[in-house]
């Protein structure tokens, strides 16, 4: 956001847009891929959290538990079928996250490429 500068927002304000309108119609579209990417990575990080939850909030089942901790609990109870089922689910979610992340990366790169191509073309003509 810092490298993008505030010119777009200033332009919106001189055109009479308020703070929210500027954010929703100008700032957010400019940063949407970055925000989405951040959300996906953050989500992946939260799903896989093990150590911090285990130490700080003690993995109480149904209250302060995450999937990896749940797998540990199940495994310790010799319920390996359930443990492996949840583990498979976690692996599946990881794959979905990976696909989403690649998709966002690809979209963002395409947008950037278009901008760059436009700039070069604009510079020449």
């Amino acid at each position: 956001m810092q490298t993008q500068g505030i010119e777009d927002e200033e332009a919106a304000i001189t055109l009479g847009a308020g703070g929210w309108q500027t954010f929703l119609r100008v700032t957010l579209p400019n940063i949407k891929w970055a925000v989405l990417y951040g959300v996906i990575l953050c989500n992946a990080r939260a799903m896989g959290e093990f150590g911090a939850v285990s130490v700080v909030s003690g993995h109480i089942r149904g209250q302060t538990n995450t999937m990896p901790l749940h797998i540990e609990n199940l495994y310790n109870e010799y319920n390996s079928v359930a443990a492996f089922a949840v583990a498979s689910l976690l692996a599946l979610l990881a794959i979905v996250t990976l696909i989403l992340k690649s998709l966002v990366e690809w979209k963002a790169a395409r947008d950037r490429r278009q901008d760059a191509a436009g700039t070069i073309e604009g510079g020449l003509s």
Partner: protein, 357 residues
């Protein structure tokens, strides 16, 4: 709608960008703020737009004799055009231009049809009516800047402010666009203030030129006034290329090598450093010494491709001097490289520290 600012100062940290600047722009005029980078011209423009606040203690910013100093940029009704266009790149040209109308509160927002009509009128005005569905990245630089201008005009601004509008364009497009801007201004007559560091652009387009330097206004005048009657050495220096000769004041004369200029009643300035400033076309070249007041020089380079012939001379004390003569004059002198010629200023100005004639 006139613009008036009085005693505006602005400091960024310890850097004083503007020092007590006052300026009045009459209604309907196209005024250029001209100066080198760091002279405070963009800061002044941004203060007028309300994007920057003047230091406390500064005078008011007035539009049409109304103080708008405490009005937020959003409510000042200014059209602002940025050097790098600042177009919304995720919107089409149409939506960019319509933006200022669609963000209005519902009760003052024009109907969909009215917006459509207004936008297509504006796109016709900037000659882009068939590009309404393109995205900014699919336009050339000149087209983008015209979209930015249409977008600024859509909100029917009381004043139009342009920050180096042609700065990012190449030379030919820039020339076309500034002629176009002049015609457009003659058509719509909105009070306009534009910032530029290109003196040619300012002189060619503006009704009034404001020359700025180091946070101060050096001179305000028509292009003719600032060009022919520069208020001081800075203005003369900044408006086009000049030759500067260094010398000293001796007995009522400023002496620059074998050149001397009379300086009546200059006793007070005796012995001081003097500078003789001459524009390249105000120097006369001849093949024989014409009177005592001429400098002997060697012709280093002749550049005759263009409307005038540019000569580069080296004086005996090694200074390079640029001279411009007509093709006829150049032919009649039959000049060749390494010739010895004599130059004499037809018109010049002498500046002595704290003293001017």
């Amino acid at each position: 709608m006139s613009i008036e600012v009085a005693n505006i100062s602005k400091t960024f940290g310890r850097f004083a960008a503007l020092k007590n600047v006052s300026l009045r722009v009459s209604s309907g005029e196209l005024v250029a703020l001209l100066g080198p980078s760091g002279s405070g011209k963009t800061t002044l423009l941004r203060i007028v737009a309300g994007l920057e606040m003047a230091d406390p203690g500064s005078g008011p910013v007035q539009f049409h004799d109304q103080d708008v100093g405490d009005r937020h940029a959003r409510h000042r009704r200014v059209g602002f055009v940025f050097q790098h266009y600042a177009l919304f790149k995720h919107m089409t040209v149409f939506n960019n231009v319509a933006f200022g109308l669609t963000v209005r509160p519902r009760r003052s927002r024009p109907s969909r049809q009215a917006i459509r009509r207004k936008v297509s009128d504006l796109l016709r005005l900037v000659q882009l009516e068939n590009l309404a569905n393109r995205y900014p990245s699919q336009l050339s630089g000149g087209q983008r800047q015209r979209v930015a201008l249409a977008r600024a005009l859509a909100v029917e601004p009381e004043v139009l402010l342009l920050d180096e509008p042609f700065g990012a364009l190449d030379a030919r497009v820039r020339q076309e666009l500034r002629h176009w801007l002049r015609r457009l201004h003659d058509e719509i007559h909105v009070t306009s203030l534009f910032v530029t560091h290109d003196q040619e652009e300012a002189l060619e387009v503006a009704d009034q030129v404001v020359v700025m330097n180091e946070g101060r206004i050096e001179q305000v005048g028509t292009p003719e006034q600032v060009f022919h009657q520069p208020a001081n050495e800075f203005v003369l220096n900044f408006l086009g290329h000049v030759n500067v000769f260094h010398g000293r004041v001796q007995q009522d004369r400023a002496v620059f090598g074998s050149l001397a200029v009379d300086m009546p009643s200059s006793q007070a300035a005796e012995g001081r450093q003097a500078r003789l400033v001459v524009r390249p076309y105000d120097l006369e070249v001849s093949s024989s010494p014409a009177g005592a007041d001429s400098l002997r020089a060697t012709l280093v380079r002749i550049q005759s491709a263009g409307p005038i012939v540019k000569l580069e001379l080296r004086t005996e004390d090694g200074q390079l001097v640029q001279v411009e003569v007509s093709h006829e004059r150049s032919k009649s002198l039959n000049l060749h490289q390494d010739d010895i010629v004599y130059v004499r200023p037809k018109q010049s100005r002498v500046y002595v520290d704290d003293y001017t004639i």
